[in-house]
Symmetry: C2
Subunit: 76 residues, 2 copies
Amino acid sequence: MKARVHVMLKNGVLDPQGEAVRHALGALGFEGVEGVRQGKVIELELADGTSEDTIRDMCEKLLANTVIESYRIEVL
Amino acid sequence: MKARVHVMLKNGVLDPQGEAVRHALGALGFEGVEGVRQGKVIELELADGTSEDTIRDMCEKLLANTVIESYRIEVL
């Protein structure tokens, strides 16, 4: 089975990488870019029958820093 | 309007970051993790009416390195 985990910085946490992308888009002539946030996607190839609880455990222990990041699990 | 761009390494391109995550999950005792690929998500806050073509242009010029990465655009 496959699962996808999306990890984004929480709202209110400064995102310098996103800001850099916003500036670069402006410099390239793209107008109207009001905000950019950058996050991670992690695609996992797991043994069949792995529960969503196990994936949540992976997120809490390794994949996301829950102090500043939120995550969303999508089982494919 | 909001758009989300997913950028992943193409199949066949070595993903050391994903490999590191796979090893770390194994070391933490999670079994059955057969593969991990890590990519980026970029959330864009754009002026209303920005066309998907413009977003594709942003991907080609800045957001993705199309030699080794593929991207997917999702307008929210």
